[in-house]
């Protein structure tokens, strides 16, 4: 299965890309995907916020094929 991943703000700069498509052999949770991305890029990032299909989700949320997953730092609007 495939999911699309988006990064924003300081996290986009850390990752060196705004988005990517990731192939997964089996369904994983959004936090498992996040950990695998950190491991593959050998980076660390605290306090990440996670959204799937433009809704905030808990870390144990299970991903489905075609999901749009977003990772970003704490929001600072207003």
């Amino acid at each position: 299965m495939q999911v699309s991943v988006k990064y924003f703000a300081s996290l986009r700069e850390l990752m060196g890309e705004a988005s990517s498509v990731i192939d997964l052999e089996e369904s994983v949770s959004v936090s498992e995907l996040w950990q695998s991305i950190l491991d593959s890029k050998d980076v660390k990032f605290d306090n990440v916020m996670m959204a799937v299909n433009m809704e905030y989700v808990k870390s144990e949320h299970q991903l489905k094929s075609g999901d749009e997953v977003a990772f970003f730092p704490p929001v600072t609007g207003g």
Partner: protein, 145 residues
């Protein structure tokens, strides 16, 4: 209800009047509460020359819509207006406007505060400040209470 993300500068007070003129609530509303956030020239004791605001197209609008709808239901509001800048924001330009209309002040005050605090804590926007000695992402907002 109107939620808009704006790339160009806006005058919050003119926008509020313009939107009010488009509504059919004359005689119904007795209270208007608003919050306007404006670009400062300092943050945490450092000079800021300008700021760049980024958002998550699609999710930001969806999230703000949900916040406004929740407020309208909870406080029985007559209407809500939310405007928020993105892109390069200069000193003195307005960043955000939240305006709430209701029959009485309690509902207008409380809902405007709730919408603003929820926007600050959960709407996907990010600020990057130019300080003159380099750009820096704002890492957290100041507490609202």
């Amino acid at each position: 209800m109107l939620i808009e993300i704006r790339k160009k500068p806006f005058n919050a007070y003119a926008e509020m009047q313009y939107y009010l003129d488009s509504l059919v609530i004359d005689g119904k509303y007795g209270a208007t509460a608003n919050f306007v956030g404006t670009m400062r020239d300092f943050n945490e004791d450092k000079k800021v020359t300008y700021m760049t605001l980024e958002h998550y197209p699609g999710m930001t609008e969806k999230h703000l819509n949900a916040i406004a709808k929740e407020a309208i239901e909870k406080w029985q509001l007559l209407d809500v207006l939310i405007l928020h800048r993105i892109g390069k924001v200069k000193i003195t330009e307005d960043i955000v406007l939240v305006a709430c209309w209701s029959a009485h002040r309690k509902e207008a005050f409380e809902s405007c505060r709730m919408i603003m605090e929820q926007l600050k804590s959960s709407a996907p926007f990010w600020k990057k400040e130019e300080t003159g000695s380099g750009a820096k992402w704002v890492e957290k907002n100041t507490p609202g209470f």
